[in-house]
Amino acid sequence: MSQAEALAAPPALYTPHAAPRATDAAVELRLKSLHYGDFRAVRDVNLTIRRNAVTALIGPSGCGKSTVLRCINRMNDLVRGFRLDGEVRFRGRDIYDKAVDPVAVRRAIGMVFQQPNPFAMSVARNVTFGLKLNGVRDHLNERVEQALRGAALWDEVKDHLNKSALSLSGGQQQRLCIARAIATQPEVILMDEPCSAIDPIATLKIEELMTALKAKYTIVIVTHNLQQARRVADDTAFLYVDRSAGGRTGYLVESGPTAEFFANPREKPTQDYVAGAFG
């Protein structure tokens, strides 16, 4: 099969997601509290993440926005002493149900991290890594191209697919990580401050990418950059730190469609934060 044919006839992996489309929600968070050992990091986050939209989690340092994000694909399970009280509904079930395998969750909900973290392998092997985990062995070249095109990186690396991923610039590495995440066509992509370690021009590219990717994916992004949330997010959720009772517990203050959120914040902390009083 030629490359063009392979792309024209999408392999089985590219069929639309089997998840129920009855609701508009891709993920529903109903978190009562998140603990690290005895430390209560987050409380009361009730948030609906809309399908094929970009949802931004914003808030000051230490408000638990990354912790909340990492609940959505059970990455926090890797942290010793982490406990979750509440539920995260995805594809009609609670992913914290005992019967659910966290590895399966992470295969359906991809993640891009704060620091670009490509493996010390070639560009192509970085992209195929997730495919191989999922047992996909056919059309690898086409899939690599498709993923790299999807991450707006193809033109820059198509002649160096066998070069080490570590030879790429920071911004290119981060787009490679996005390509690696979308190669398996997950349903949701989580991005944990994906632009904080890269320069402004690369940031712009990744922001454009997010807007393009939401046609196919549901995206949740953590950012400390209000302007970024304004530019890319359809919905914005603001988390703040509750320092009463001597603790430092993050909680969800309010959330809503981005334009409305920034135009008319309802709560006092949100108004101060959006006005640039702190943060």
């Binding site: 694909n73 990455m75 890797l78 010793r80 590895v103 399966a104 992470r106 295969r107 359906a108 991809g110 993640m111 991290f113 620091q115 973290n117 490509p118 493996f119 010390a120 392998m121 890594f129 997730g130 985990l133 999922n134 570590l166 990580c177 690696r180 995440a181 398996t184």
Partner: protein, 320 residues
């Protein structure tokens, strides 16, 4: 805010004492470093000097013949070279398998942190056990334990050269076994460092893509640490090649080489330990030559190991 008076600065040039202390300390450090280098050069020169007559007399034949006959003044260390390499390869292969596994358990969140620290300490303690104690343990525990198994293997698969003889007492397998335990702390300590140096963000990336713990270790962590682990194995090899006491006790000092795991054998180091006390002037020269050969092998292996380790560090730095 008022600016401090420019002449009121607290900055002072270093005193004469400061300069003197700095110079003397640098001198002391340089002298120590030079002494260490001189010592190595001196030892090599001394051994080479003592071996020189034997080198001139026996030349390359020394390395390719098998006779050790002090009365006939015929000397060759081929079985010793072969035995050294064979026992080291076996011991290091066993020890590496074991050691890398232990290093994985110690670094990949298999144990609670406190237990991890305890287990690490216990493994390091293995390097504090004297060689002669390992030898005795080998004689009284390992050989009797292996003997029934070894002899059963010989009876069943005796046609294979590696099972070609019975294990009657000392032999290669018990020696390799004890050697494996002796190199375990080296392998574990260095590969533990290499594994711990794998950036956490790479493990996160693997888990984030939906890798199981096993997949994350085999496909990401081990390959990233592979140079360091390889370096650990080479350094362990260097150690195994020079090991003397335990092997002299367990290998049986037979001046021959056999592929059988159960046959007695010999190494360069055990040859020197066994022959030296009763040797005459000519044999001493030959033993010095054997020492030179051993030194060459060890030096070669250690330089390769160091080189590999240095390159690993550079790869890891590039990844920061």
């Amino acid at each position: 805010m008022t600016r401090p008076d420019p002449t009121g600065t607290l900055a002072r040039p270093p005193t004469r004492f400061d300069k003197w202390a700095d110079r003397s300390f640098r001198g002391l450090a340089a002298t120590s470093a030079a002494l260490a280098v001189l010592l190595v050069v001196g030892i090599v020169a001394q051994i080479a000097g003592q071996a020189e007559p034997a080198v001139r007399e026996y030349g390359v034949d020394f390395l390719t013949t098998s006779k050790w006959d002090p009365s006939g003044k015929k000397f060759g260390v081929l079985p010793q070279i072969a035995g050294t390499l064979y026992s080291s390869v076996l011991g290091v292969a066993l020890g590496s398998l074991f050691g890398v596994t232990v290093a994985i358990v110690l670094t990949q969140d298999f144990l609670p942190p406190r237990l991890e620290a305890v287990a690490k300490g216990v493994v390091e303690l293995l390097s504090a056990v004297p060689s002669v104690v390992y030898g005795l343990w080998g004689i009284f525990v390992v050989i009797p334990a292996l003997r029934p198994l070894a002899n059963a293997a010989h009876e069943t698969f005796g046609a294979l050269p590696i099972f070609g003889t019975r294990l009657s007492g000392p032999g290669l397998l018990p020696a390799a076994f004890v050697l494996a335990i002796m190199v375990l702390p080296t392998v574990t300590a260095i590969s533990r460092d290499a594994l711990a140096a794998v950036p956490g963000k790479l493990r996160e990336a693997a888990f984030g893509l939906g890798a199981t713990r096993w997949e994350a270790i085999v496909k990401v962590v081990l390959p990233t640490a592979s140079r360091g682990i390889f370096g650990a194995i080479v350094l362990a090899f260097g150690r195994a090649v020079g090991e003397t006491m335990a092997l002299a006790m367990l290998l049986g000092n037979s001046n021959s080489f056999s592929w059988s795991l159960f046959a007695p054998g010999t190494t360069l180091a055990t040859l020197m330990a066994n022959q030296w006390p009763e040797s005459g002037a000519v044999e001493k020269g030959a033993l010095m030559y054997a020492g030179l050969v051993l030194l060459g092998i060890t030096l070669l292996i250690n330089s390769v190991g160091t080189l590999i380790l240095r390159r690993t560090v550079r790869v890891e730095e590039a990844h920061q």
